[in-house]
Subunit: 203 residues, 2 copies
Amino acid sequence: MPKTPPARTKRDVILEAALDLFSRYGLHGTSVDDIAARADVSKSNLLYYFSSKEALYVALLRDLLVLWMEPLRAFSAEQDPVEAIQAYIRLKLINSRDRPEASRLFCLEMIQGAPLLREELDQMVRRVVEEKSGVIRAWVASGRLAPVDPDHLIFALWATTQHYADFGVQVQSITGKTLADPAFFEATIENVQRIILDGIVKR
Amino acid sequence: MPKTPPARTKRDVILEAALDLFSRYGLHGTSVDDIAARADVSKSNLLYYFSSKEALYVALLRDLLVLWMEPLRAFSAEQDPVEAIQAYIRLKLINSRDRPEASRLFCLEMIQGAPLLREELDQMVRRVVEEKSGVIRAWVASGRLAPVDPDHLIFALWATTQHYADFGVQVQSITGKTLADPAFFEATIENVQRIILDGIVKR
DNA sequence: GTCTATATGCCGATAGAC
DNA sequence: GTCTATCGGCATATAGAC
């Protein structure tokens, strides 16, 4: 029984339009009219698929959270830590380049105290981080990684990579480049990897 | 001629209330009524001091931007780079602890493409970063710092420190602590400094 | 499933008295 | 400078025909 092809349903179109707008203007800065216009459906038709604006917003966040945590799941104690972390930085920067809206939407939600995502935060995210903290601890214990608090390392990895999506405007204002520029993209990967892995102190 | 004492004018009270709310709910998520209530003034009285909600928002951003860039200004080529960067990380984390609202407001504005701050970004921020990039380049050239792109280093410093303000909810959800906890605060400084300066590769 | 029309409430800003 | 009253606009959501 072949799976139904990933048809671009109207629901998906609406979700995508909503992501574009919510991630830039926030829940309150976006009107249902705006989303409907961008998705090329009527407002009442949109409200047929999602019972309210907030329901649409929450549906979006839930869908994205899973994708968002995926790169971290790859960590396992058997891997070489340097390779694993290098690969992780590359993956997250690919996300920042290809799906900056997703990153921005999470950032918006976090800033506002994650009122609609707190439950997932306190459960799923917490669980994954705890598990992966264990992996990092094992790397440190086996002498393959310098002593570092796993939580703070994960925060540093998140922060340095998501920065290029969330603060993309600032990055562009300062460097004149975006991650869409292949040379700049590779230089970014290289520099983030070097800073996190090797630090900047001369030896 | 002694300066007038820093009297807490009504204008200041309004600005502070606005910061609290804007930084959490954004420009559109905050009503003038909300701000007025929190500042304990009437709505029309507020609109006597600020001609519109947007004017208030912009006034706030301009005031904060100056404070926000201050820690970076301290960088100078004569300093020892390790000490300068350690001090910088500490200062920024103090800001994240004591004024998380300011950090969040900037983050919000950046995510939205900085429509009301782009001019300042392209001028003042850009100028300061260019100047301090020169300092970092000098540190590298003189062999006191490992080779690193100055812009990416500045991004990494910003990202890792501001993360504790902007994603404070997530930090608390995962670690159970906030920067208000003195032990956690010192551990954070220590870990961020170590990651950026020494990296995490075992040698 | 999709549409038009509309009910309903909120919010920014102004008018004008004091 | 501060107040009360209110206008006008916009946005969410629903009703009900097709």
